[in-house]
Symmetry: C2
Subunit: 217 residues, 2 copies
DNA sequence: GTCTATAGGTTGATAGAC
DNA sequence: GTCTATCAACCTATAGAC
């Protein structure tokens, strides 16, 4: 009893520090965030952080780990909710929905992670890249299945396609607040563009034929 | 004569410092890049930087200004090369081509700018946001014309669409080196997805466009 | 214009009281 | 577990020699 209560208390403090760090790192990046500021947000003194974390680096890495893990979990949960019979494009769309709702609503962790990438010591960056790849493979398998089953045209380079789309997601926290859209509306736009393109078919086909002819003449 | 030679020498040194700063900021971000390191790359002593720049902030802002300006110029140049008769989707594709070729090949400035955004003092960030908006309006006008003329379906929120696509561009330096693609191949994938989507049924429409685009390069 | 030397301030981290 | 006090290292920026 005593032990579990003690652990629970310690864990809650640790969590409070992690949230404070994520918030601060998100706002100012890694190097510009001092332990004094993080401690201030967590309502403690800077020296006290060291009871829970060995160094600033360890704290940063813990935030980054949580950032990838949580983003991955939300994307996977989106797919899982669809059930087994879903078609591959719906799976990708659902992963984006889970991922983006998390990225835009809940998460200082994931956004802090994206913004800290090129500031942390190299050892951290290397380890983080490996963890990130596991997340990448999850998405890669969704795209591979979709292409294999004929839902994505064979000429697409799946790796490039995946990274372009993840880039669109990852960049969205930079501007989303000014857009006036809801996360779900934004995902709808992305999925529409991804699956059907932006042109009205017949009009585009017609105009394009036109402009092609004009240019070839 | 003397004056112009002096100015030329001074300008060349200034440029050397700017390039060193861009390279260093790109690699480590704003706060983690010390003036000593920048000076080292520029092959001078840290104190000497102050003859050319008043502060680290001014140096950072100069790099960021160059980053937006150059990216904007390359996007505009891509469109300008098309001539007046080009259709709106070709204009967007050409802007992406110019923009992305710059972002992936030439530029420490633009990438450093993207990575410094949330680390600089707020005054810099605010001024930079204003300059960035001018670039945004350039793209916005391309998309508005395309939608007005029927090349983009009316249900698309143009602002969201634009920012999603620019996010895909802005994120590409993070992974491009591992992709094995050329910048032009990457732009082709992006433009294909944007215009026709990734599913098989619209392939024919794009192939029509393809011959037109390739003549323009 | 560039150098060296250094002031003045902040940072990550440690030690010891409670 | 948290606090206060403090150290050593590093940073930006300045001053003055050349």
């Amino acid at each position: 009893m005593n032990i579990s209560q003690t652990e629970s208390k310690s864990n809650r403090t640790r969590s409070r520090i992690l949230h404070a760090a994520a918030k601060t790192f998100r706002q100012h990046g890694y190097a510009s965030s001092s332990l004094r500021e993080i401690a201030d947000v967590a309502e403690m003194q800077a020296g006290s952080l060291y009871y829970h974390f060995e160094s600033k680096d360890e704290l940063a890495e813990a935030v980054m780990d949580a950032g990838v893990t949580q983003a991955c979990q939300h994307a996977e949960a989106g797919v899982a909710a669809l059930g087994d019979a879903a078609n591959p494009l719906d799976c990708i769309a659902a992963a984006f929905r889970g991922h983006l709702n998390y990225l835009l609503q809940e998460s200082d962790f994931a956004v802090a992670t994206l913004r800290m990438l090129h500031q942390t010591p190299e050892a951290i960056r290397i380890r983080h890249t490996h963890k990130q790849r596991a997340f990448g493979r999850f998405y890669a398998s969704l795209f591979e299945r979709a292409q294999r089953e004929g839902f994505i045209r064979p000429e697409f380079n799946l790796s490039a396609l995946r990274m372009l789309l993840l880039g669109a997601l990852n960049w969205s926290p930079e501007w989303f607040d000014d857009s006036g859209l809801s996360p779900d509306e934004l995902v709808d736009q992305l999925n529409q563009m991804m699956q059907c393109g932006i042109t009205p078919d017949k009009l585009a086909a017609f105009k394009n034929r036109d402009s092609a002819r004009r240019r070839v003449q």
